[in-house]
Amino acid sequence: MLDDALRSNRLPAAPGVGYKPQHFTQILEHAKPVAWLEIHAENYMGDGGRPLAQLRHLSEQFPISVHGVGLSIGGEGSLDSDHLTRLKHLVEWLNPASFSEHLAWSTHDAHFLNDLLPLPYTDMTLARVCEHIDQVQNTIGRQMLLENPSSYLAFEESTWSEPDFLREISQRTGCGLLLDVNNVFVSATNLDYSPQEYINEYPLEKVGEIHLGGHDEDEDDHGHPLLIDSHGREVVDPVWALLDYVLDRSGPKPVLIEWDTDVPDWPVLRDEAVRAQAALDRVPA
């Protein structure tokens, strides 16, 4: 369980965007209303060069959120200690406003699969995820946020609902939560449940950050809609509506726009942040 002094999430309740190097110059000139930036931890674990120089420069002007995609917190095996050490160094060097990771696995038997893979929600996986989060928080000396996945299938063996599973993890480890509203919409569509009911059951008081992103539309073998979390386009209207539903219940939160494939020019990404600002402006502080 985490010491209260280490609850150090310092992101503002304002729009942020996932940082892409091609936007470096324009971010410095025309950031507003973007108030903070998120980076993928693994892209900044080299020893030097332009990536770290740009990040150092940006961190002097913006709060930075470090978002890991490679810790494999849901992995059956133990965490990669080399990778954990690299993360510790990055966090010590950068002193970011927040650190977050995923309820997912990506590494097995020392093979990294470069995707966020799903895990069943059972007492056994709950214990293992909590053990891994304890280890991460103890190593980096601060609280982390845990993000809900986008699901394309369900596990027969699961005995916990996802919101209950996340609440229990947060209670046992003291970690905060990163609520990906697009992931809720994608999973709810794919697995036939109500995204609003998911939000009603979800512990919003634990949320330190919200994610929004675009998804693609496909179908499964039986013609059932299958949404794919691609981060390659604008956020769709029903997801914006779900954000309003969340903010009405949670109050203002840091809201991030993720756009990782087919990355658009800066003004297009910035427009998404403008829309996030409008959603935040509706909500009494």
Partner: protein
């Protein structure tokens, strides 16, 4: 029915394997095609990483052939760490074992050069020496040992790799002519730059990297290549901000 991650991973990387039991769709029927989303994500993201890592190989072979090769490669060599910036270390070896590509013997060395450029890009920053640090007597210069920037890479090839690299990056570059080439990669600021070394340059720099003095390495190199051009090699290193220290061990002290 519980699904182990060993089983999940095996089915991810081999589309011929059945989808593991215990994975369900929205109506609690077997997940079927839904599992392909993960198969597809893994294959597409790693293939994309290979395209980004080896742009010249991709250009030489064509994107579709590269897709096919990457598909084979990623199943034999899934990443061993989450640092995708260093993915593909085994690719030159892999290329050299591909019989269908044996008529393109230069491909492995071109891939080595692309790896070297990427390593250089992410290497630690360093402070180069001033050029006048080498303005010493010829005797002292021969006794000097050099320290190099972590971003420096050297490649010795039986193929014209520098010319091939340039031809695929610079529209005005001449068509490559057959012949061996040594290449030096330096990173004066943040952009790694491959430079053509004079013949023997790679051996001479490798000698210094292994702790030889300028003179010792020169003697060994000129035994093989009598007209080795030390001046040009030193000038390329200096211009590339690749020398970080000079240590002169005088014999008479």
């Amino acid at each position: 029915m519980s699904v182990s991650q060993t089983e999940f991973r095996a089915a991810l990387l081999d589309a011929a394997k059945p989808v593991p039991d215990g994975l369900l769709d929205a109506s609690s029927q077997p997940a079927g095609r839904r599992f392909s989303v993960y198969r597809n994500n893994v294959a597409v993201s790693l293939t994309e990483a290979m395209h980004q890592a080896f742009p010249v190989i991709t250009k030489l072979l064509g994107p579709q052939n590269m897709d096919g090769l990457a598909g084979l490669f990623l199943r034999q060599h899934p990443p061993s760490s989450p640092l995708m910036m260093f993915y593909g270390q085994e690719f030159p070896e892999f290329l050299s074992r591909m019989e269908q590509l044996s008529h393109l013997g230069y491909l492995p060395d071109v891939a080595r050069l692309e790896l070297a450029i990427r390593e250089s890009y992410h290497a630690a920053d360093s402070q180069p020496i001033d050029a006048d640090a080498l303005a010493v007597s010829p005797e002292d210069l021969m006794q000097a040992k050099l320290g190099f920037a972590p971003s420096m890479r050297v490649l010795k090839s039986a193929w014209p790799v520098h010319a091939i690299w340039r031809f695929n990056n610079d529209p005005d570059a001449p068509k490559p002519e057959p012949g061996a080439q040594d290449v030096l990669v330096t990173r004066p600021e943040y952009d790694p730059t491959p430079q053509l070394l004079p013949p023997g340059g790679a051996d001479w720099i490798s000698g210094l990297l292994s702790g030889q003095t300028i003179g010792e390495a020169f003697e060994i190199t000129t035994a093989e290549i009598p007209d080795f051009d030390l001046g040009t090699t030193l000038a390329l290193l200096l211009q590339g901000a690749a020398i970080t220290s000079v240590t002169i061990e005088r014999l008479d002290t």
